[in-house]
């Protein structure tokens, strides 16, 4: 694949406490704010405690889930004195770190989370072709040997993307489990500290001009959620995650594999026809959202080599429509040799489009 040149990732936001009882992020952000870590070589990092009220009460949220408040609709909705705290806060955060979709937004928003599910370390994002995020993912995978590192892709367009990380030009959540909510486990906190460090190191290297070679990475794309079996009248759950599925996030679930065990001991099996990868198995916060587990397809995604723009250089984009438009604009300005080079690149990228889009 042809190398892609991208703008530097010069403004990074590190957010914790988006859910007030997911303590690794809370403690990490608290420590950074205490030590006043801000300016680092080649990048500026803003550290944010997203939901201070929920953090203070050690609850996921006070009125509504903050991490569902970042759709365009919610961000642009009117605010009255009856507006839930978290919606007011989401608009504040959008002003601070966005506005979402605009050129002023943070280059990278990284949001720190924990899960009660046995998911190791996951980067969660809305795009499977954001090369910055995918290169960071690959870098983390290579640098962190103690824990499995995976990439989960929720296929949603930007305006429907509902989480805090969608506010930045690039963004993802770092989700680490298993950890009970309201608890800080030293090993999980160390893992998160290392993940953040390695991510910032990648950004530093990228911004200083280091090229990163392309290749292939595995991505899990979310397909569907599965709810608990529930009592028809009370809506109370009537089964628990089966012991053979509990803690087996990312172990392939095949048709007829056990999924639930009812309270009378009966096994309920997976009735889908396609084998899929389960994740967020028995996440505490998802009982109220009607999710016992989520299911994903695994795919191999090709990523191009990338490097940051040098001063004065204009980044090449891979959208063929944009490139053609650019070509037309630049054509009149470039001298013969330069134009020839652009044409060669344009031809190559057309043939590669099928591979990585």
């Amino acid at each position: 694949m042809e190398e892609v040149v991208l703008p530097t990732v010069s403004r990074v936001a590190l957010c914790g406490g988006t859910h007030g009882n997911e303590l690794s992020g809370v403690y990490l952000v608290r420590e950074r704010l205490k030590r006043k870590v801000e300016e680092e070589e080649h990048i500026s990092v803003v550290t944010v405690m997203s939901n201070p009220r929920a953090v203070q009460q050690c609850r996921r949220y006070t009125e509504t889930d903050l991490n569902r408040c970042f759709t365009h609709a919610t961000l642009s909705g009117p605010v009255t004195d009856k507006t839930p705290y978290e919606i007011v806060r989401s608009q504040e955060l959008n002003t601070l770190l966005g506005p979402k979709g605009s050129p002023e937004a943070m280059d990278l928003v990284c949001d720190l989370h924990n899960t009660t599910a046995n998911m190791g370390l996951c980067l969660i994002a809305y795009s499977d072709c954001d090369w910055i995020s995918l290169h960071i993912y690959r870098y983390l995978q290579r640098q962190m040997s103690d824990i499995p590192v995976r990439f989960i892709h929720f296929d949603l367009p930007l305006n429907e993307a509902y989480s805090l990380d969608s506010v930045g030009k690039h963004g993802f959540a770092i989700e680490i489990g298993p950890q009970a909510h309201g608890v800080v486990r030293s090993n999980i906190l160390s893992t998160m500290q290392e993940g953040v460090q390695q991510m910032l190191e990648w950004v530093r290297l990228f911004n200083s001009g280091t090229p990163f070679e392309g290749g292939k990475v595995d991505v899990y794309t979310m397909v569907k959620n599965v709810d608990y079996p529930r009592d028809f009248e009370t809506r109370g759950i009537t089964a628990a995650i089966h012991p053979q599925l509990q803690d087996r996030d990312f172990c392939l679930l095949r048709p007829n594999d056990p999924v639930f065990q009812t309270f009378s001991g009966e096994t309920l099996k997976y009735t889908g026809t396609e084998p899929l990868y389960p994740f967020f198995i028995n996440e505490c916060a998802y009982y109220e959202k009607g999710i016992a587990l989520s299911l994903a397809r695994q795919r191999s995604v090709g990523i191009p080599s990338i490097r940051s723009e040098r001063e004065g250089e204009q980044g090449k984009r891979k959208s063929s429509a944009e490139e053609m438009e650019e070509e037309e604009e630049i054509k009149g300005e470039m001298e013969e040799e330069g134009y020839q080079k652009l044409m060669e690149y344009g031809e190559e990228s057309d043939s590669l489009n099928g591979q990585y889009k």
Partner: protein, 313 residues
């Protein structure tokens, strides 16, 4: 040692209650009790009235530990004798109601046995909680349960302590028994934890049935862990936690902690070591609900209690 002259005679255990949802987000107890309220066949035993009961329904509905104040600390003499009223915290009102139904605490009318079902984020396995070292009936029951689930273990935590003992919902009964099963996150139902609790309760009810049928239980000894000292997280002058449970101590409930062993780890990686006089056995290590109670873990000391022979009168 013969038992014929030294047998304590107890009245039959006729009225038994099983409490779930004393903490609304400890899901095994909530689920089991709701199940048994719908269909109580599993918990019926000859000659016993076994009543499953959700103690804190408002907290259960919100899936939170408590609404105003911790119900499992609310059964103090002061609270129970306070004039009732809507201005009292919800859980204090609830404690008074529970005391009326299952007590009064300390009186002959109180329920014979109450099992109180709890979960913990700590790696405590199936722990039985004993409030009095002189409760021979409970000691015999715990001895029976331990034998029944062997080789799996069932540690017994003795909370008899002038300062650390707390006024539990089960303390309304003549023979209160706490069941603490973990590790399980709050708000989560794990099927293995659920089944463990169910099995322990089954054996407990079997014991009661055998006792009521007239079986004499010979003298026995029970190894217990007596609560000793509450250990808080290291904090700064503003009260913020500055260190976490050390990775060497995390999940090591009931294992020996020796002087000099790692205990906490600060956020910059420094180890803080245990500086007690002798070996202790920590438990409730890193329980989520205890951060606000200033407790990282509690130390215990091993003790062997003797229970005399018992028989129904």
């Amino acid at each position: 040692m013969t038992s014929s002259t030294n047998v304590s005679c107890f009245h039959g255990a006729r009225r038994v209650a099983i409490f779930g949802g004393t903490h609304g987000n400890e899901m095994s107890g909530v689920t089991l009790v709701n199940l048994w309220i719908q269909n109580g066949k599993e918990i019926q035993r000859k000659g016993v009235e076994t009543k499953p009961f959700i103690t804190n329904p408002r907290a259960v509905e919100k899936c939170t530990r408590y609404v105003d104040t911790d119900l499992n600390r609310a059964f103090t003499t002061e609270n129970l004798s306070a004039p009732s009223g809507d201005d009292l915290p919800y859980e204090v009102q609830r404690a008074q109601q529970i005391n009326e139904i299952f007590g009064p605490k300390g009186s002959p009318e109180a329920y014979d046995v109450i099992f109180d079902l709890h979960n913990t984020t700590s790696n405590m396995g199936c722990t039985l909680i004993l409030e009095s070292s002189k409760d021979h009936f409970n000691l015999q029951m715990m001895h029976y349960i331990k034998k029944a689930i062997a080789p799996d273990s069932c540690p017994v935590l003795l909370t008899e302590h002038p300062l650390l003992k707390y006024s539990t919902s089960r303390s309304v009964a003549k023979h209160p028994i706490g069941l603490e099963v973990g590790p399980q996150p709050q708000g989560v139902l794990r099927s293995n934890i659920f089944e463990s609790m169910r099995v322990v309760l089954k054996h407990a009810l079997d014991f009661i049935e055998l006792f009521n049928e007239g079986l004499e239980f010979p003298p026995c000894t029970v190894d217990v862990f007596r609560v000793s000292e509450k250990m808080d997280y290291p904090r700064d002058t503003n009260g913020n936690i500055i260190a976490m449970v050390h990775p060497n101590l995390q999940d090591c409930d009931w294992e020996p902690l020796n002087p000099g062993d790692p205990m906490f780890q600060t956020f910059d990686g420094t180890t803080i070591r245990y500086e007690g006089a002798g070996t202790v056995y920590p438990t409730f290590i890193n329980e989520a609900a205890y951060y606000e109670k200033q407790q990282a873990f509690v130390t215990t000391r091993r003790e062997t209690l003797a229970a005399g022979a018992i028989k129904k009168a």
